[in-house]
């Protein structure tokens, strides 16, 4: 990571750490906590934490579109679901089931879906984009739901978890702890890649599309191509999240291709903080924790989306930067 030439935190007294150092220290601390966490948490919360990380990855992938390119996708369930079904297909067809093959197949599925969606939807802006991504994700949902012979229809696909294998080095069954570490490694790696991407010249062009699309085009950037790549990239990471979820839960179900998954993803983003990459993970954690808490307080049947939906509306009106943006502003004060 390059140090910004005009680093604001490098003040006169010189004792303060640079921005980059602060970032890496914070990053390592969080990762360290997440590495230790499964060793101290009971089984239920261990699974829960792993799941939050996976939802966080999904949310982060859609943040690339919402927060950086300025396009709201209501179709991330398609990429997530295709990742799930791709992994499921590879695990069911190839024996012995191979983890890396599953990941590759899931990514290929998500990439295919993303290519299809991107090709049509990038012609449109704002609301039109949101609506078309939603409709396209429903196309995938209908296909998966009705093509029973291949996808198992409403019942989905059930398979066994592959071994965690690194060729010639390591080969063992996943325990819930190693699964957590594996997911953590993938999510942390994805975060670093996405952070690098958003800070690269490419990422700058995406942000300039968000700020002023006609001007970006006038400068000479092929806006459509950039949008296409950003949708594809976002779809790939969403597919990766789908693969991880499939591996964790040992099934692929059409429910996850349904619109509600995309809706949740958007909520994670808004609650956590759009355009921050970390924010969506925080949002996913907050959302899932609140849901769990409400279920424990009022029973499983409690419609947790009513209070969370209201909170969501309130946040859009009063706190559009989300939890993280709010915290940042509060800390800087």
């Amino acid at each position: 990571m390059t140090t910004a030439p005009l680093d604001k935190s490098a003040t006169l007294n010189g004792t303060r750490l640079s921005h980059t150092a602060v970032f890496w220290i914070g990053f390592c601390a969080v990762i360290a906590v997440l590495i230790v966490a499964p060793l101290v948490l009971p089984e239920f919360w261990r699974r829960f934490l792993t799941e939050i990380l996976i939802w966080g990855l999904l949310a982060m992938s859609s943040d690339l579109l919402i927060g950086y390119t300025g396009m709201i996708s209501f179709g991330h369930s398609a990429f997530f679901g295709l990742g799930m079904y791709g992994a499921a297909g590879a695990l069911l067809l190839v024996s012995p089931p191979n983890l890396w093959l599953a990941i590759l197949a899931g990514l290929a599925g998500a990439a295919g879906a993303a290519l299809f969606v991107a090709f049509f939807s990038i012609r449109l802006r704002d609301i039109y984009f949101a609506i078309t991504t939603l409709i396209f994700s429903q196309i995938f949902y209908v296909m998966i739901f009705t093509w029973t012979a291949v996808t198992g229809g409403e019942n989905g696909l059930i398979f066994t978890r592959p071994h965690l294998s690194i060729p010639f080095l390591y080969d063992a069954r996943f325990s819930s702890t190693t699964l957590h570490w594996f997911v953590l490694a993938v999510v942390a790696g994805s975060y670093l890649i996405l952070r690098r991407v958003t800070r690269s010249p490419f990422g700058m062009v995406l942000q300039s599309i968000r700020e002023n699309e006609p001007r970006t085009r006038a400068i000479g950037y092929a806006v459509e191509r950039y949008k296409m790549v950003s949708v594809m990239l976002s779809g790939l990471f969403a597919g990766l999240a789908g693969v991880l979820y499939a591996i964790q839960n040992e099934f692929a179900a059409p429910d996850f291709v349904y619109f509600l998954t995309s809706g949740d993803t958007v909520m994670y983003n808004v609650i956590g903080g759009i355009g921050t990459l970390v924010g969506p993970i925080v949002g996913a954690g907050f959302f899932q924790l609140a849901r769990q808490l409400l279920a424990q307080l009022f029973g499983d049947q409690f419609p947790y989306l009513i209070p969370l939906g209201m909170l969501f509306i309130v946040m859009i009106i009063f706190l559009p930067q989300g939890i993280l943006g709010f915290a940042r502003r509060w800390l800087n004060r």
């Binding site: 449109l124 409709i135 989306l305 969370l308 939906g309 969501f312 859009i316 009106i317």
Partner: protein
């Protein structure tokens, strides 16, 4: 010639006529929903994600009013009024603060509203399908079917509501305000038109139209809490195919798409017939992104 004869023989003409009637009936309901959606979009620049939920809520409230009073027509009017008030409240509380902000914010807000409404309905009424009986039970013979007159009545009533609304837009005082605001908001305000009131009113009218179509539709299939999403998706497709914010276009598109879906379901499963409307949407986006039913593409 022989192949053509065989082909003609294979086409079930009786089914096609039945499906034409079915398609026009669902098309009119869809047109009623979509015209509310396109009205709200055209005037307020708000894509109302919660429109399907207003439709669903209208059906539920219609059901409740029907159970208490026993009159279908009271249910129709009562549901429309109550949902109109609800719509006005939603607009004032959640959408008015967002005027002048990035339009994406309003999508997100209406999405949140739809979540809340849908889960409220699930919580209040449970996952059981509720049904309002048809107000008239007379039937007529269509080939081998006993076709209910009620379905024809739906189409006529929907056309009546849309027509009445069109007249209101054209000649009513408030209608003129609405059109003026759609044309030039700042100028309309300068001329003394209470623009915030117009916005609230437009949202209420759109909501009432959705609710009315919900009540009209309820006797055909039944009411459940997930019906909103299916219909709002269809309405979105209609609105995009018809040209966003184009009133006549969306009505034509609603009937066009419903007819296509009805014909498609002669040969494939109805749940797969939805794909046809998706294909229409894709083709529209590819070749006429401004909408199929726009008079002159700009």
């Amino acid at each position: 010639m022989d192949a053509l004869g065989q082909f003609l023989h294979a086409v079930p003409f009786d089914l096609i006529i039945i499906q034409t009637v079915n398609g026009i009936v669902t098309g009119m309901i869809l047109a009623l929903i979509a015209s509310g959606l396109t009205l709200i979009f055209g005037i307020m620049d708000v894509v109302n994600f919660a429109h399907g939920e207003l439709f669903m809520l209208g059906a539920y409230i219609g059901f409740v009013v029907f159970v208490t009073t026993g009159s279908f027509w009271l249910a129709l009017i009562g549901a429309s009024l109550i949902v109109a008030i609800l719509g006005a409240a939603i607009q004032v509380v959640a959408l008015r603060p967002l005027i002048g902000r990035d339009p994406l914010n309003t999508i997100l807000a209406t999405f949140g509203i739809s979540l809340v409404l849908q889960n409220y309905a699930l919580w209040q009424f449970g996952p059981v399908v509720r049904k309002i009986p048809e107000p008239i039970s007379a039937e007529f013979t269509l080939f081998y079917l006993q076709y209910p007159w009620y379905r024809i009545l739906i189409a006529v009533l929907s056309a009546g509501i849309i027509g009445g609304f069109w007249l209101f837009l054209k000649f009513g005082k408030f209608g003129v305000w609405i059109r003026a605001t759609a044309q030039d908001r700042v100028m309309a305000q300068a001329m003394g038109i209470p623009v915030p009131l117009v916005y609230t009113g437009v949202f209420a009218i759109g909501a009432a139209m959705a609710a009315a179509s919900g009540v009209l539709f309820a006797p055909m299939v039944g009411v459940n809490h997930t019906m909103g999403l299916d219909w709002v998706l269809k309405a979105f497709i209609v609105v995009v195919v018809g040209g966003m914010g184009n009133f006549g276009g969306s009505i034509a598109a609603a009937i066009f798409i419903s007819l296509l879906e009805a014909y498609a379901s002669i040969w494939v499963d109805p749940s797969q017939a939805v794909i046809v409307s998706f294909v229409v949407l894709i083709l529209t986006l590819l070749f006429r992104p401004t909408g199929l039913f726009v008079a002159s593409p700009r």
